[in-house]
Symmetry: C2
Subunit: 299 residues, 2 copies
């Protein structure tokens, strides 16, 4: 089977959505940058669109013939990367109980269960290892360290250290820095969400990530910026896992973000520190309450 063409399928679907807006498509290189793929892939997309009668394609002329129908799209699940598929499978197993700390992870078994080659699983595990949840025994298997209370505490300790520093750096940024406009925009989005919190509360997690990433970027330190990947990953699955009082939690968080933004805009380091601390404290609390008490944390 060697390689799935999910890049093509995903780009094709995104290109279909473009069709609604225009009567004719731009040049191949332009489409390429627009979709984030190479011209080779763009041409496959165009070829198929011609075949299915969506467009007429002759050299530079790419005229839209009809609007895309639902069945023109490739099914969602065929557009995922292998890495995403493996990650989801792995996290499901990890969170859906029975994942005791110390348990060993079998590459071959995982690969068979997901229906992929061992190489992909190996590469996934290597990439995943930086999240601190698994560990490799030299020349041997991987060991699961478990999504425990200790893990959450270690993670949040670093997070707090990094974010306090980033927030301070943010506040010290010159007034003409473009981040202030970004912050303004995020503030608007927060206010909007606050108004519609009753119905749109699940839109928070995405906004949360963008907000914190903006702040972390102010540190101008790749290790701090990269570490947010760990946090984002954990919170991503945590949100899916723990739906208890989601609406209330998010409402509180939006309020804290707004206060935090206010503090940043004041550029008063004392206020920034206080607002940041307050938010991080409740974020930690949220994470901690969702973790079941650890059983017997051995070695």
């Amino acid at each position: 089977m060697s390689k799935s063409n999910n890049v093509y399928k995903d780009a094709y679907n995104r290109c279909l959505r473009l069709l609604d807006e225009t009567r004719s498509l731009p040049s191949e290189p332009e489409l390429g940058t627009l979709l984030g793929v190479s011209r080779t892939t763009v041409r496959s997309i165009l070829a198929r669109m011609e075949e299915t009668g969506l467009i007429a394609w002759n050299k530079r002329a790419k005229t839209v013939l009809r609007d895309p129908r639902p069945d023109d799209f490739f099914p969602e699940e065929e557009t995922d990367t292998l890495a995403e598929i493996i990650e989801r499978s792995f996290m499901r197993r990890l969170l859906a109980g029975g994942a005791e700390a110390g348990m060993q992870i079998n590459e071959l078994e995982l690969a068979r269960e997901i229906g992929v080659g061992t190489t992909s699983v190996r590469e996934f595990l290597i990439r995943f290892s930086r999240f601190g949840l698994i560990e490799k025994r030299r020349n041997s298997h991987w060991v699961l360290k478990g999504f425990t209370r200790a893990f959450a505490l270690e993670l949040t300790e670093i997070r707090e250290m990094f974010e306090l520093r980033s927030a301070a750096a943010f506040a010290a940024l010159p007034t003409d820095s473009p981040v202030w406009a970004d912050l303004e925009r995020l503030e608007d989005e927060h206010r909007q969400l606050a108004r519609e919190i009753a119905t749109r509360f699940n839109a928070f997690s995405e906004l949360d990530e963008r907000f914190h990433r903006l702040i972390h970027r102010a540190s101008r330190n790749r290790f701090i910026v990269d570490f947010y990947d760990v946090i984002a990953m954990i919170f991503h699955y945590h949100y899916q896992w723990n739906k208890a009082q989601e609406r209330e939690r998010n409402e509180v968080a939006v309020g804290e973000h707004l206060a935090y933004i206010e503090a940043l805009k004041s550029r008063d380091l004392g206020k920034v520190d206080a607002a940041c601390r307050k938010h991080l404290k409740s974020a930690r609390q949220t994470l901690l309450t969702s973790i079941p008490e650890s059983r017997s944390p051995k070695s």
Copy 2:
């Protein structure tokens, strides 16, 4: 070729050194734990030792017949892991000039040049990416970010944050904690080295790593402990690269370590902070002076 038997060869060599000390070898499982390999490998080793007339092997009886000769050993280079070989090759290219920031890395070319499969190179690059020196373009090549001044500054910023916190945690450890004995032992080694600094100054880098790892471990935070891998890696190659004034630098560092150890033993947080800061500052300076001025740091 599929897989080299470097585990066997390395364990065999180490086992040869064991032969000098005893008249007969222990049981297979015991040898296994001693050498850190499985019983399967132990049996291969014993089989070969019997063949070459080093021992007589009959079930439990493994009597040493003669002392090992130099030519009994496998050549050193055959005992390295593929990962080590790739890392060395890669770092040599990276440090030996011509490694401009922004340059792209070609898996296939690297693999061919080193004479290994692409899979091993890919896995190496994924593992190596956490050091922050390279970055992956989705569905495409890796990009070298370069061993620049900016990199060194970002690295040391985190290092200082982590070490100051770890040192404070260390000083707060209860008196009956085993780390105090470890520290005592390290202090002795430092004193010894200080006395013989003229001849043994290159023994410092190994001692340095052990000392700092001991301190970082006091943080009881996996992210802090793991981050020392990044530091260790950089300093390892940095030591090989920059030999200028090595003796003087190391002499100074040993002195700083001793003051640092003294401060830790006093358990006075103010003193610890001061000693730690002082040492980290000069460590940063050392690293920075060895990096040539960056040319044009783009994007």
